[in-house]
């Protein structure tokens, strides 16, 4: 019994989340829904860790859904890259959930709260599905599940602007998904298969086939929209700013990351990366877009007066780091990109959680309303400073590790301008983080400011867990780096 249960873990990873979502819908009670969602995210984390352990031990796990063998059935093929993504998504999901209870209560109107838990679990299922599946069409289905549920979650914000933000995201997200499915259709037309491993063996022979090349363009543009690569990032700032804080924290650290993973999967596993890089100048395009994101995102972040929006623009810059790492198409560069995916998820998740604490007590996340806040909410603001150090890349934070590898990768290629761009971007981060720090620590509180106290422990503890993890993996980085290096090697080496 247990043995067979274990062998079905890949399916359970997704199915459990899918099953739990309607349960929350039926229960409609806040407490019960929260309990189920929290329990479920922890179970999912345990499953993801088990799967990662098994991949590390025995190598790639192949699981045929419903017993139908690939390429006819849907195949889940879990190598280090998938397993790493599963752990990231479930880890963030299970830390945000205990935090969400108090935060959501303050930010979503009572009758709609149960919807949040339902959508959260659906979103989780979608993201896990994208990360685990070995089938490009199945990936599309999960992409839609996660997108649709995130539109709902964003629109749950009390601010009426949340509706507009969700609507804009819906339009852009749908365009992205459409592009993706057009790409999938073209590939299917030429190769007759949707299985990634199968495609990986067929596509290289079709190299130069115009339909395949156009398909790649559609796929990459579609996913770039999802991962908010400059200049397709316009949906992101509004969405992160107006969404409830718990939603921002979860989406910022998982949604775009999974899309980055899918991007790498399509580009490297199926299309084998480097050939296309050489012939079509794709590398130059991606590197320039990444640098534009790094510098542009950080520069725009400097001028934001809403801290959640500031963090959103910072995310755009950090996504640039990840794409930069991937587009180096070297083991070190890819490792940098993947490990930054993990590190940034922890740091940015933690920072958005900090802003949730601030919003809970202050009712605003404008910089000027946060003046003098450090005296009144010392633990919350200390978490902001600690997380901000990560964005800058101070040693002992996870951000330092990412930057170390990125610069090393760029040096290895001899890309000096890229090194300079990385450094400029992190110096800009010093400035935008410090604007908030100066307001909170050096300005007196505004006149007539309400008496406020520290955020509740149920929110502070998860926030500090997230920040603490980003320090733990900044000090002892060998584990994520080993996994990321392994994942990078699998992605670059194609499917065995």
């Amino acid at each position: 019994m247990t043995a067979s249960l274990f062998s079905h873990l890949p399916a359970l990873q997704v199915v459990l989340a899918l099953l739990a979502a309607p349960v929350c819908l039926v229960l409609r009670r806040h407490g019960a829904a929260w309990l189920i969602a929290t329990g479920m995210t922890w179970v999912l984390l345990a499953i993801a860790l088990t799967l990662l352990g098994r991949v590390l031990e025995t190598g790639t796990i192949i699981y045929s859904l419903g017993g139908w063998p690939a390429p006819w059935g849907i195949e889940y093929r879990i190598d280090l890259a998938n397993a790493f993504m599963l752990v990231i998504v479930t880890l963030i999901g299970s830390v945000v959930m205990p935090y969400a209870r108090a935060s959501i209560k303050a930010e979503i109107e009572e009758p709609r709260i149960y919807l949040f838990y339902c959508m959260y679990l659906l979103n989780l299922a979608g993201l896990l599905g994208i990360a685990i599946t070995g089938d490009v069409f199945n990936l599309f289905v999960f992409l839609e599940i996660s997108s649709l549920s995130s539109y709902v979650m964003i629109s749950l914000g009390r601010d009426r602007k949340a509706l507009i933000a969700a609507y804009r995201y819906l339009i852009m997200g749908t365009i992205g998904a459409t592009f993706y499915i057009i790409g999938v259709g073209m590939m299917y037309q030429v190769t007759g298969t949707l299985n990634m491993a199968d495609l990986a063996t067929l596509v290289p022979d079709l190299y130069g086939n115009r339909t395949i090349m156009v398909a790649l363009a559609f796929l990459l543009v579609g996913l770039s929209l999802k991962l908010a690569l400059v200049p397709l990032h316009l949906w992101l700032p509004d969405a992160y700013t107006h969404a409830p804080s718990a939603v921002s924290a979860f989406l910022a650290s998982t949604g775009t990351k999974v899309a980055v993973y899918a991007f790498a999967r399509i580009l490297f596993t199926i299309f084998g990366g480097s050939g296309i890089f050489d012939d079509f100048g794709l590398q130059e395009i991606l590197v320039s877009l990444a640098i534009a994101a790094m510098i542009g995102g950080s520069a725009v972040a400097l001028y934001q007066s809403n801290v959640k929006r500031l963090l959103a623009y910072s995310s755009i810059a950090q996504i640039g780091y990840m794409i930069l790492g991937l587009s180096m198409a070297s083991v070190i560069g890819m490792t940098a990109g993947l490990v930054h995916l993990f590190n940034h998820a922890l740091m940015k998740g933690g920072l958005f959680m900090v802003m949730g604490c601030v919003f809970l007590r202050l009712g605003s996340v404008q910089i000027e309303s946060m003046e003098g806040l450090a005296k009144r909410m010392p633990l919350t603001m200390a978490a902001f400073v600690a997380g901000g150090f990560g964005l800058i890349g101070i040693p002992l934070t996870a951000g330092f590790i990412s930057k170390w590898y990125l610069i090393q990768g760029a040096l290895e290629k001899g890309w000096w301008p890229v090194v300079v761009a990385i450094l400029v971007s992190s110096l800009l981060a010093v400035i935008y983080v410090w604007r908030v720090v100066e307001a909170a620590y050096f300005k007196p509180p505004p006149k007539g400011a309400a008496e406020i106290t520290e955020a509740p422990a149920s929110m502070l503890v998860p926030t500090w867990v997230m920040i603490g993890l980003s320090y733990y993996f900044g000090i002892n980085a060998t584990l994520p780096l080993d996994i990321a290096t392994g994942a990078a090697e699998t992605l670059l080496g194609g499917v065995q």
């Binding site: 610069i407 290895e412 992190s426 010093v430 410090w434």
Partner: protein
């Protein structure tokens, strides 16, 4: 306790002490006792490592691998021994001083002050004992960040501005230049360990080596080489004990110490002398020595004058490194110690003037020797040591620096050192001389001149200044210890010299 354990615990002690200081924060007496005990324990631990290092061994502790292939390593070699030794010894002295100063001055947030002070010292010891460049860099940044709240201690707009310059310069240079240099070195040679004779020799070409050297030297903003020196005068808004220990000893010495480490153990003296860029940096350091001395002469604020004097003296040590000769490095290393004792004495005295007579401007200090003879005498001793006159320790380091310059055939540098000493005479001795020999206490006091300690500048105290009114007793004890140190080092420079000779190899 084995030497390895002593190394481990000497890194740990200040951090533990910092936590204990926070926990005992509500009881000032207990808190300051904890600070003193932590200092004593640290000094004991550091001292217990000394015999092994003086015997020629380099004990080493590897904590764990941070990145694959790159571990956090602590290795105590003679140069680090010297730096850790003075930092931990002067911490005790400064703690004594702080008790008098912070209470006498009614400073706020004293718990935060003592706790961060301990963290900063922990970082300094970490830098001193770092076994590779990564470990050093980590503690270098910890030192920057832990001292930021000390610089902005008063929380005034001026402190905030100074904090921006401080953090911007130190963080900016270290991220933009130093980190690049470190990662570049790692990707070129595959090691960052401090190795006798250097790790770059024979591995990199002339141009690469020149660029790397520039990135390292300018990336170590704490060495205050022009044009990255502005942070040091800005940091003077901090309470005086911070200026004394951190901005005359721990932080700035961490900078020049790192320069020496890079010169000796990353490049290697022989390789360094073959790089032409080291000549350019040598002249830049010489220019810093002279320009900073000239700027110092124009400062009326005593702490600002001392800050510029520090900038000038730090470049002595950079000169020692860039001379790329054995005697130059020995002189540079000795100057870390000699200047530390001299300059900390001067800052202690400056703080004593503030806390007792509420005077910060030199022009107000005429005749101060009559009310504060002891402090002013100590100021004289410290000045003599900085100038390099016998019977003060400062003589020896300048002696070896000049010998090193001669050994390297740099007559210009010898001239610069001589001229700089003369400038020191002018801008330092003015204060004790006017203090003792100028009787005009009722000198015309420019009322419009304000300074950052204006709040405390109760000029009505002048009327009552007949008779002797010295600084609080803890301050006087600290001043006595550090100025005696200047004298003792003249007669017993042996241990420092022997350690520095070990740096250059058996």
């Amino acid at each position: 306790m084995s030497v390895e354990q002593a190394i481990f615990f000497s890194i740990l002690t200040p951090f533990v002490g910092s936590v204990l200081i926070v926990l005992t924060g509500s009881n000032p007496n207990l808190r300051e006792t904890v600070a003193l005990i932590t200092g004593a324990v640290l000094f004991y631990l550091v001292a217990s490592i000394y015999p092994a290092v003086a015997g020629g061994s380099t004990p080493s502790v590897t904590l764990f691998e941070m990145l694959p292939g790159l571990a956090i390593v602590f290795t105590v070699e003679p140069l680090g021994m010297i730096f850790a030794g003075i930092a931990s010894f002067l911490w005790i002295v400064t703690s004594i001083y702080s008790i008098g100063y912070m209470r006498g001055h009614d400073e706020r947030n004293q718990t935060r002050f003592y706790a961060l002070f301990a963290v900063a010292i922990g970082a300094a010891v970490g830098i001193a004992f770092a076994g590779n460049m990564l470990t050093l860099f980590i503690f270098y940044e910890v030192l920057t960040i832990s001292t930021f709240p000390l610089v902005t201690h008063h929380g005034t707009p001026e402190a905030k501005r100074a904090g921006r310059v401080y953090l911007g310069t130190l963080l900016g240079t270290s991220i933009a230049f130093q980190l690049t240099a470190i990662i570049w070195t790692w990707s070129l040679v595959g090691t960052l360990d401090f190795t006798q004779g250097g790790i770059l020799d024979g591995k990199v070409g002339g141009l690469t080596a020149a660029v790397l050297l520039g990135l390292y030297v300018f990336g170590i903003g704490k060495a205050a080489l022009m044009p990255f020196h502005r942070w040091l005068p800005a940091a003077m808004v901090a309470p005086t004990p911070v200026s004394a220990l951190l901005h005359a000893v721990a932080v700035v010495k961490a900078g020049v110490f790192t320069v020496l480490k890079v010169a000796v153990y990353i490049f290697g003296v022989d390789f360094l002398s073959s790089i032409e860029a080291s000549q350019w940096l040598l002249y830049l350091a010489a220019a810093t020595v002279l320009i900073a001395s000239l700027v110092a002469m124009k400062q009326d604020n005593l702490k600002a004058r001392l800050a510029y004097s520090t900038i000038s003296q730090l470049s002595y040590i950079v000169i020692g490194a860039m001379l790329a000769s054995d005697l130059g490095v020995i002189g540079g290393g000795m100057h870390i110690v000699m200047h530390a004792f001299g300059k900390i004495t001067l800052f202690f005295c400056a703080g004593a003037y503030i806390v007792t007579a509420h005077k910060t401007e030199i022009s107000h200090m005429r005749g101060i020797g009559q009310t504060m003879p002891f402090t002013t005498l100590a100021f004289l001793i410290g000045s003599l040591s900085i100038i390099g006159l016998p019977p003060m320790g400062g003589l020896w380091s300048k002696w070896y620096l000049m010998l090193g310059a001669l050994e390297a055939g740099q007559i210009v540098i010898v001239a610069v050192l001589v001229v700089s000493s003369l400038l020191n005479v002018v801008y330092l001795l003015q204060i004790p001389f006017n203090g003792f020999f100028s009787t005009s206490l009722n000198n015309p006091e420019p009322a419009a001149k304000h300074n950052h300690d204006a709040d405390h500048d109760h000029s009505h105290d002048r009327e009552q200044s007949q008779g002797i009114r010295e600084a609080p007793v803890p301050c006087l004890i600290a001043i006595a210890i550090s100025s005696t140190g200047c004298l003792v080092l003249f007669f017993y420079p042996g241990p420092v010299f022997d350690l520095m000779r070990l740096v250059m190899g058996p």
